[in-house]
């Protein structure tokens, strides 16, 4: 593989990490008002993502930084081309991040409800818009954008609900399972349409990846039904990873209409030194992020309110 291909794969990997990890953060953010009754449960739900959401978001920053360094013209073309949708993504991420950090520090119920609204909107906007943006890159039609957006929104809901069922105890866990099954009613049909549109005209390999993504999605629903929470989460994560792989497979070798990867790429020297830096640093990042999930692996319970003051 030449360095241009290596970096395209690395960037696809970074976006995959972002969609898998922040996918459930978005889902949890949207489901928090639906699945929790009262303040104690609301805290229980948000604590499942509390220690990790910021680290998850760095996958996006790194993916974007890597695009800037490795494919400047792709980076510049994508974000100036989708100017207003990207602006809305940023506005969403801003209000959501601040609300997640401040929610436990504000004083009144009214202020907390502002934070809840910001977490909801700030999770829904990017969850919809990332799908819409990448669908529009591939198909350049409003219908495709809406379909792509609804798919990633529903998939985030499903992924987040499955994550909550895995990470909580008590009534929230039961409601999360039902929410996952409900979300799959939207995620599966839009997923079938969107995932089969991705490889249209592409190679058999791309078809195989897209079909595998659909299979993972279907098995996630079946596993949720059978209350196999750990495996269901593995399946939704797999569906997102395979779907992202199919997306980037379809973006190769023209990540934007009229710009090829080779034209957009930085020179071999830059790609070479960055490869070494990435190879050295990435195992450490994966190691300590994985350790974080291990530290907070236990199910979150709903603590009595006096204790959560």
């Amino acid at each position: 593989m030449d360095l241009t291909t290596v970096w395209f794969v690395i960037i696809a990997f970074l976006w995959t990490g972002y969609f898998v990890l922040e996918g459930f953060d978005f889902g949890v953010g949207m489901l928090a008002p639906v699945l929790s009754r009262g303040e104690a449960e609301r805290r229980q739900v948000l604590t499942t993502i509390g220690p990790v959401w910021d680290g998850n978001e760095v996958w996006l920053i790194t993916a974007v930084g890597a695009m800037f360094a490795a494919f400047p013209a792709w980076y510049a073309g994508l974000f100036s081309g989708f100017y207003l949708p990207v602006l809305l993504v940023l506005a969403g991420l801003i209000v959501r991040g601040v609300a997640l950090e401040w929610r436990g520090k504000v004083a009144t119920a009214r202020e907390r409800s502002w934070c809840d609204a910001a977490i909801f909107a700030g999770s829904a906007l990017p969850a919809f818009l990332w799908g819409a943006i990448f669908a529009a890159v591939l198909a350049d039609s409003g219908l495709a954008a809406v379909l792509g957006g609804v798919f990633t929104l529903a998939l985030s809901l499903l992924h987040g609900a499955v994550f909550l069922a895995l990470r909580t105890e008590g009534p929230v866990r039961r409601r999360a399972r039902r929410a996952a099954l409900t979300a799959s009613l939207a995620a599966v049909p839009t997923g079938v349409v969107a995932l089969s549109a991705i490889p249209a005209g592409g190679s058999p390999l791309l078809w195989a990846v897209a079909l595998a993504a659909m299979a993972a999605l279907a098995s996630a629903v079946a596993l949720t039904w059978r209350r196999r929470e750990g495996w269901a989460f593995t399946a939704t994560a797999g569906a997102i990873a395979l779907g992202t792989a199919a997306l980037f497979g379809a973006l190769w070798p023209e990540p934007l209409p009229g710009i090829t990867v080779a034209e957009a790429a930085s020179a071999p020297y830059t790609l070479g030194v960055l490869t070494w830096i990435g190879l050295i640093a990435l195992p450490f990042v994966l190691g300590y992020q994985g350790w974080t999930y291990w530290v907070f692996r236990k199910r979150v319970v709903s603590a009595p309110l006096s204790k959560v003051g």
Binding site: G65, G97, G278
Partner: protein, 466 residues
């Protein structure tokens, strides 16, 4: 009005706003880590009180630094696509390294610190705040290396109208970056020190008025630590500021001329304190260590640039640069002077015992918040307005950097959205910080048995810090 003008306003507003929170993140992170280390070493309860109190203020501020930082990563591509395409090969590398090496460290370990108080062994928990603080400081290095390259590009060639990196090491050890990193990071510690000084002064005044004084020792030890930090960091800022002035003389003569309002090349150039008040020869000494050295003047540089790069206006907004420079120096020095005065007033008596802090000085401490904040903002205005009309000195003009496909309306919308959003958030952040400072340290509930052993508690509970 063109898209270019609005894009410049947007960059200025979002970046200056981002930098309101960044220095506190950089400096206060280390300060809180130091407090927790002191608690760990000595076991004294007031260090834990201070760790949790300033830790909470740190987190309120940290959130703002993070979310406003996301915008930075995107807006080069959104508003400055020509710039991004031209520089990405070189400029993108430190940005990617910043995300990979610094941001992951910072955010992952901060999450562990916030939620790990009763999940991690004490020693490991202490290590997490240090890892986060190191991440913040490392990110400052990478972004400042990228920024220094815009003003003094090194380690590259231009091929087919694009900059191509030839030497990453040269980019990372750019002399401009080597001078700029300790200057800006030092200034961040001055801002953070000033913040702690102001908060401590306020708490001391408030508790005296309330007739208490039980916590006098707590606030005094926090104040002393912050005074030391501010004074030491202030010395670093002054020393590296001198280095930067000498580099400006060699690398960015136009910025130096603008900062001094010097119109024509002059040997033995005077330092202009304010317009009309000049100290003969001082500028030549500061810039070149030689009272007779020739310093280039703005009008003469303009002529030389026009001859080299073709007709055009190569001067920045000279009054803006001139006055930013003065605000930076005066407000910065005032902060350091305040910290030295505080150290003198709180010195130990020869025979034991502590002097009570004079009430007038506790009031003066409140100035330690706005003074260094205005100084660092002025420093950035000096540095970045003074770089104009270039985005990459000698290579790319700002006017040629903007996204050609983005309309005036689009930029206007995003400028409006960011300004409105940032305005609301600034009010909320200020209210939240004020509320916590007024409330003072919260009673920490008794620690649960088994705390710090990590695995004993049956299930994860929502944490108290969150």
């Amino acid at each position: 009005m063109e898209a270019l003008d609005l894009a410049r306003w947007q960059f200025g507003i979002t970046t200056v706003y981002h930098f309101l929170f960044v220095p506190l993140t950089i400096g206060l992170g280390v300060f809180v880590a130091g407090l927790q280390t002191a608690w760990h070493r000595t076991g004294k309860a007031h260090y834990l009180t201070l760790t949790k109190f300033f830790g909470k203020l740190f987190l309120i501020n940290f959130a703002m630094g993070v979310v406003t930082g996301i915008v930075q990563e995107f807006q080069f591509g959104m508003n400055w696509s020509e710039y991004s395409t031209f520089v990405g090969d070189v400029f993108g590398a430190p940005l990617a390294m910043e995300a990979l090496l610094a941001f992951f460290l910072e955010s992952t370990f901060l999450g562990l610190w916030i939620f790990g108080w009763d999940r991690l062994p004490k020693r490991v928990h202490l290590a997490t705040i240090w890892a986060a603080a190191i991440g913040s400081n490392l990110s400052a290095y990478f972004i400042l290396a990228a920024n220094a390259w815009m003003k003094h590009p090194v380690g590259y060639t231009v091929v087919d109208g694009k900059a191509r990196m030839t030497d990453l090491w040269a980019v990372l050890t750019n002399s401009t970056a080597i001078a700029q990193v300790p200057h800006v990071v030092g200034a961040a510690f001055v801002v953070a020190g000033g913040f702690v000084i102001a908060v401590s002064g306020y708490r001391i005044l408030r508790e005296r008025r309330a007739g208490g004084g039980a916590d006098a020792r707590t606030w005094r030890s926090g104040l002393r630590a912050a005074l030391v930090m501010t004074a030491v960091a202030g010395a670093v800022v002054a020393g590296t500021g001198d280095m930067s002035a000498k580099l400006l003389h060699e690398q960015q003569p136009m910025k130096l001329a603008a900062a001094e309002g010097l119109r024509h090349d002059e040997s033995g150039a005077p330092f202009s304190v304010v317009p009309g008040v000049e100290i003969p020869g001082l500028l030549s000494i500061l810039a070149a260590n030689d009272p007779g050295a020739v310093i280039q003047g703005a009008d003469d540089i303009q002529r030389r640039f026009a001859a080299e790069f073709g007709p055009g206006d190569y001067q920045p907004n000279i009054p803006a640069v001139f006055w930013s420079f003065r605000v930076m120096i005066v407000f910065g020095m005032a902060t350091v002077g305040l910290s030295l005065l505080g150290l003198w007033l709180t010195r130990r008596r020869r025979r034991g015992g502590e002097r009570p802090l004079p009430a007038w000085f506790a009031r003066v401490c409140l100035l330690a918040l706005p003074l260094p904040t205005l100084a660092v903002i002025a420093g950035w205005l000096l540095s970045e307005i003074g770089r104009q009309p270039w985005t990459v000195a000698g290579e790319l003009l700002t006017a040629a950097s903007v996204s050609p496909g983005v309309s005036l309306t689009e930029v206007a919308i995003s400028l409006a959205v960011f300004t409105a959003l940032y305005g609301v958030l600034a009010v909320a952040e200020f209210a939240l910080l004020t509320r916590y400072v007024k409330a003072g340290p919260q009673e920490e509930p008794a620690l649960r048995p088994g705390q710090g052993d990590g695995d004993d508690s049956p299930a994860l509970q929502p944490t108290l810090m969150y």
